[in-house]
Symmetry: C4
Subunit: 250 residues, 4 copies
């Protein structure tokens, strides 16, 4: 058994060509995952590659029809009139530090095979508290890319995130650099405690500007508003309880 | 030293042929282990393969005669008139995520060598509370198998288990799929806190229907009833204590 | 760098021959380590092999003269008139499960190269409370060895230790079996909380009977008595404190 | 992808030659890191090698200009009139025990390629309490080096550190020994709780004496004094609070 198994579902790597890959694997606030899955859905991208690995958790996922499939990562292709985009999404990232490196390297090899010259990695930037108006932080792997992302609305703040960027979102930029690939990481500010569609909507906005694409963000924004209502209710309930307690004491 | 050592005890793989393998390695509530070991005992299956691995815990087991043997997994063969069945049982599963994959893959290679075309993996589905009438949940690795297991009494519930199936029971289905093997996982509902022979009896019942086999479940049912009595006593004692405490307070 | 490096200090494996190897690596109560190091000292055995490995903790030990050496395992040879014995001792066992297997296998390969046909592994059997008269438990890897160790004073108790034997003491017996080596594990009963020279003295006694050797156990027994005095003082102090507390309450 | 990637930035190994390597990777109190980075800065050493590895944490570091680079280790060269010195510094040490060995071994191979015959490893010796006048402890990998380091002001105390030396600082001495490299480890006494520039200044002093180099330690000493003031303030505040509490109680 290979450490990493790459399976093309239809046409092979020689028949596919796309200049852009967008990574949205699970991470902080599932921000990247929400954006990438939203785009796949809205654009009608289709699955072209399945990646299985001994570095993923040793488990299967139960699908809606009661059948199982291995935990995996997947690549989707949007084959549009004006642009072709690959999406890297999946259930999990690596369970080990070493696996993170080997998987990120394998992702880049696939990207190279498919003609990718620019990679967008998406993620959340956990700040530990609720954020009213989440910023979209950006980092790049080549200085020449700075102006583009700032023009599109991303904030470059060298101190943030202080601890660097962990996992595929960071490694694909770092390892991509020595392969000569352009790399941009967009991170939506988020509490880090909850799945955050509002933060994802912000990232989607900046990303679409960069890609020159129009994608309907309604469902993402709605889910964001639902989350906000839910959180507001929780906060209100807590305050009410606190008031009650005060009354008792008085 | 090999990562995984496979040792045939008597006849080699070319002399053995069985269409079915039943996996019952340790797991939640030891449900799968109980079922497989009960069947081995009742059918008089005999050990034909020992599997040792650096992925098992680094220890030996002390046998009744005071001699030791390495922690291992074992394959038994039931060579019946009408059917031949292999059983995969053992002391432990892998200690590492990577080992889980490599062992499941090795098990499938053995199964292929022995002519297996269908795999049953058995396990428990931990729900976190005592279950009066445990269901038997089923998942499959090919949609065509759904009807069979539902007809045999298994429940297909796509949301359960929510976290997927971890370890050999899941991986053998997932990895078996790409080898073209039919895979069925039967999981007995169980609290997850105790070894659960009652849940095992339920799984055995569904499994026997699927296999068209009759196996005496008396000892399993008796052990299940003993467990229930024991639990009831514990519950009663606790209630009595609570009443005592209330009396003191009053 | 090799995973395991074996370095002969003087004569190579072809020039050394000894039928017996005694393993006394660190473990519960350091019982095995105390026995093996005591024997090395009393018999004047000399170091013949150093084993370094990436599976040991990544550190150096500071020696008395202020120089460092890598954490390692070592083999000593007692080249007596009537008998030749190898001793396997060291600072640590493996940090990983896989490493335990690979190291135990490497130890057995060295043993085979040096003509060893019987292995004694020594350890402690932690019972969780102070033991007045510690038993010496024995397990073997071939049933024919049972009588010998019982005659020498070891107790064979199939239920103990319930969890099997972990680490080199267990694996060398288990892996040695398939190499056709006789294996005997002697475990001194011990609390498991303290280094236990008294338990070690008991193991030494049984081992010397088995080897037909006479070794002065005075220093081991003295250290055992010192430990017992120390423990008794601690117990007395605690009791005194309890009495004081009672007085206050009264 | 290689487990360890070594990249020369300009001239290759055949064009560089330096007899001395100073290791200052992150560790207790960041003492070694502070010393090595201070020397690199004061001497104007330039980066000549980048080392990336799957044993480092899977992350990128965000640089001041908003671009990322992989977490790595780096080698700097000071190419002075009278002496040439290599410095090994970096963001992290290995995340796994095995990786520590493999990286230390790789560092030594680079050092050999560059003509290094003596290695200084720098670190902190954590004592668990604030130290008024921190000693500089020294250990060596060859007894002949003792006099030199004692003459330079290092203290050789065979009992310290009791637990040996963990990580690159220890392994490079231990593994360097069998390559015939002289190895000296200098450890500044430190609480172990804080980054400790004062302890670093002490190590720098001894190291400069050994190297026959003069390096301005002002900035290190100033940072040390600032840290001391900060700590003193914390202690004063705490005492004041305690007094206040006493007053309330009185």
């Amino acid at each position: 058994m290979e450490e990493i198994t790459i399976r093309y579902l239809g046409p092979g790597p020689k028949e596919i060509s796309a200049p852009i890959l967008i990574e949205g694997l699970p991470g902080i606030g599932h921000v990247g995952k929400l954006v990438a899955e939203h785009m796949i859905h809205e654009l009608g991208a289709r699955k072209i590659v399945e990646i299985e690995s001994i570095f993923f958790p040793p488990q299967v996922i139960i699908q809606e029809n009661g059948t199982v499939r291995l935990a995996n990562n997947e690549i989707y292709l949007y084959d549009g009139k004006d642009c072709r985009i690959l999406f890297l999404v999946g259930d999990f990232q690596s369970t080990s530090a070493e696996g993170h490196y080997l998987l990120a390297d394998a992702f880049l090899s696939i990207a190279e095979d498919l003609g990718v010259s620019r990679i967008y990695t998406l993620g959340g930037y956990g700040v530990g508290h609720l954020v009213e108006v989440p910023r979209v932080l950006g980092v790049v792997n080549q200085e020449t890319l700075r102006d583009q992302i700032e023009a599109a609305g991303a904030v470059i703040s060298p101190d943030e995130p202080g601890g660097g960027i962990i996992g595929a979102a960071g490694l694909m930029l770092g390892l991509g650099k020595s392969r000569g690939m352009e790399g941009i990481c967009l991170m939506g500010e988020t509490s880090g405690y909850l799945v955050d569609p509002k933060s994802a909507a912000g990232v989607l906005d900046v990303l679409c500007t960069l890609l020159g694409l129009r994608i309907d963000a309604t469902t993402l924004q709605q889910r964001g508003m639902e989350m906000e209502h839910m959180i507001q209710k929780l906060v209100d309930t807590e305050r009410a309880t606190e008031n009650d307690e005060l009354r008792y004491i008085v």
